[in-house]
């Protein structure tokens, strides 16, 4: 429950440091320079790895799990004043609103499903692309910005 800063230099120099497999996969499957498919030799076994499985998508399952966690929450440890808040806020959403919400959720889940089941891009088509360029581009020296998730096309 506490804050643990894993001292950087302790583990990683010259070996595998304190990072677990998830941390490593996060980093090396998704980031770093890429050799274009045109020059690259295909390698057995890599295609089985799907980044998509780790993408955080809000689903009905997630909602239900969070709701149950909130239900089980031990409020005796909660901040003072919360019962007042709850008292003031008693009541459930109107029927229409609930219906609307549920529809929205179902639509969102459908989108997610489509994303996950979308056929992967044909590797042959990717390989046929004429460019064999590997160019290096540094991030601009600017304030931190949100980086779009890299497309997985070159896989």
């Amino acid at each position: 429950m506490s804050t643990s800063v894993q001292p950087a230099a302790a583990g990683q120099v010259g070996g595998r440091g304190p990072t677990g497999l998830a941390d490593v996969i996060d980093t090396i499957l998704d980031r770093g320079l890429v050799i274009d498919a045109y020059v690259r030799v295909s390698l057995v076994g890599i295609e089985i790895l799907t980044i998509d499985a780790r993408v955080v998508v809000a689903s009905v399952d997630t909602y239900l799990r969070f709701a149950e966690a909130a239900n089980r929450l031990d409020m005796t440890q909660s901040e003072k004043g919360l019962p007042d808040v709850i008292e003031r806020a008693k009541g459930v959403p109107s029927q229409d609103k609930t219906k609307e919400v549920v529809q929205g959720v179902v639509e969102a889940a459908g989108d997610t499903l489509r994303e996950l089941t979308e056929p992967k891009r044909d590797p042959a088509a990717a390989a046929a692309e004429p460019e064999a360029e590997v160019t290096v581009e540094r991030e601009p020296k600017a304030a931190p910005r949100r980086k779009p998730r890299p497309k997985r096309e070159e896989e």
Binding site: S4, Y63, R138, R149, E154
Partner: protein, 256 residues
């Protein structure tokens, strides 16, 4: 040119981990990926070199040990000098191909990038909300969420499905909003301790922060202290981890 004339089998490829300066030292205890572990070598061209090892392209690659070997080698090199890390799975036909197709055509770009990265390394900060703490916050902040919680209390999941979905939706949205705010707060607090920052996508629904920072290696102690100090403000609310020094995976991008 590297000596690869003895390569007989067509099944052996040259796995590329990354690009380093030609004068980089690979210590003999560095082990590559594959089983048995490949011997890590430098394929040099002018002032730059590729970190490589032989790999059998007919053997599946992607065991946990392969991932650890890839990142372990690059991070170890990053602790000693500049590295341009490649994404996992880059294999060329031979050491000659590494020179002809990779190093020679991009020598200037690679050299400039290595020069720019000198004395810097990547650090990743991951923070995860403590579920009980963040749920308590959200229930206190959202009257609707608190009301819904009361509505589902002691009632079956089937009977309160709509309320539960709405409550979960509020919690998810609230966590996203908190994540955006907390990420900004953290980056503000660390200003001056890093050169560039990239906000990574969350990899867990309870992620509080997930950022990669490019920082001067000489400032590492100060960065560690700043992260620790900031983490103390979130004691009991967010569990924080600082990883590094790592190769600058988030600060090199390839344009195909």
């Amino acid at each position: 040119m590297p000596k690869q004339a003895t390569r007989r089998s067509q099944n052996i490829g040259t796995y590329v981990y990354g690009i380093v300066l030609a004068n980089a030292k690979v210590t003999s205890d560095e082990r590559g990926l594959g089983d048995p572990a490949g011997k890590v070598k430098l394929v040099k061209h002018g002032d730059i070199a590729a970190l490589v090892s032989d790999v059998n392209v007919e053997e599946p690659l992607g065991r946990p040990g392969d991932f650890f070997a890839h990142e372990g080698l690059l991070d170890a090199m990053a602790a000693k000098g500049p590295v341009l890390p490649f994404r996992f799975g880059a294999v060329l036909a031979s050491a000659d191909a590494v020179v002809d197709e990779l190093l020679a055509p991009h020598e200037d770009d690679f050299l400039a990038a290595l020069d720019e990265l000198k004395g810097q390394a990547e650090y990743v900060i991951k923070g995860r909300y403590v579920e009980q703490a963040v749920l308590t916050e959200i229930l206190a902040e959202s009257p609707e969420a608190a009301g819904l919680r009361e509505a589902i209390r002691g009632r079956s999941e089937d009977a309160t499905r709509n309320e539960r979905i709405r409550l979960g939706e509020i919690i998810t949205a609230s966590i996203e909003a908190k994540r955006d705010l907390d990420t900004r707060l953290l980056l503000d607090a660390l200003t001056g301790h890093y050169v560039q920052g990239v906000i990574r996508e969350p990899t867990h629904e309870q992620d509080a922060v997930h950022v990669a920072l490019l920082a001067k290696s000489s400032d590492q102690k100060a960065l560690e202290k700043a992260v620790r100090d900031f983490g103390e403000r979130w004691e009991g609310r967010v569990t924080m981890r600082l990883l590094g020094p790592m190769a600058p995976y988030d600060f090199v991008t390839a344009q195909a």
